[in-house]
């Protein structure tokens, strides 16, 4: 049996692919950040929405975006350039100030089409705040595939996606296994 002892794997032209650490806090095999896309972004100001209309969440504040694969300014979409299987999740808070919250659901769209639904709430509570969460394992081709997070809020009053310092409405994703 042959044993190869290295601390780092690089391409022939010197691009770091992975680090192998045997001690300290970062022990283990670590893919370079660009090879393991992960992002988390949240909505920073309340977003007004129309009744019973699937509306894209404008998750505009990034907590991290290791491969610069999430667009937090224009399209609010995640387009990783590493093919593989990703865990994608999102949460939306639905608020109806001065009215009633009806049906609510968060939905992951893939390539512009409805792809996976989250939990559906059907309430009739005055002035309520409801959450819907959605999570799915999704294949990306590493070139053109992308996902976005939409929410539907039925009800009356002033309808918004909630904020609360970034804790309520957010969108996240991470590579689980390459293709």
């Amino acid at each position: 049996m042959s044993v190869l002892k290295v601390n780092q794997i690089q391409t022939a032209n010197g691009v770091i692919m992975a680090n192998l650490n045997s001690s300290g806090a970062n022990i283990g095999f670590q893919l370079a950040s660009t090879l393991a896309p992960a992002f988390s972004a949240y909505l920073s100001t309340a977003q007004s929405v129309s009744n019973n209309t699937f509306t894209k969440l404008q998750a505009n504040t990034e907590e991290f975006d290791t491969a610069s694969a999430y667009d937090n300014a224009t399209n609010y979409r995640f387009t990783p350039l590493v093919a593989g299987y990703y865990q994608v999740s999102g949460n939306i808070a639905f608020s109806a100030t001065g009215g009633i919250v009806g049906n609510t659901v968060a939905v992951i769209y893939k390539n512009g089409a409805r792809f996976k639904d989250g939990n559906l709430s059907g309430s009739s509570s005055a002035g309520g705040l409801f959450y819907s969460v959605v999570s799915s394992l999704i294949y990306f081709n590493g070139t053109t595939d992308y996902v976005e997070l939409y929410g539907l809020l039925g009800g009356s009053g002033t309808l918004t996606f909630g904020v609360n310092s970034g804790t309520q409405s957010y969108f996240q994703g991470s590579l689980v296994r390459s293709a």
Binding site: Q47, V49, S50, N51, N52, T53, F54, T55, K56, L57, Q58, N75, Y76, G102, N103, V105, R114, L120, G122, Y150, L152, G154
Partner: protein, 57 residues
Amino acid sequence: MTLYEKIKALYPELQDIDFVFGTILLQNDSDGNGDYIKSWTHPTLTQPTQEQLDAIQ
């Protein structure tokens, strides 16, 4: 008046759940272009024309 409200004015028999499961899918892509009808596959009610929608105040 929102697009949803106009459609409800035209078809008051519609239930909110019709807008959840896709027989009538209203969408807003947060790109500044507003609400629009993404798809309409209701089994009995026909999709309203833009003229019908514009006529509702």
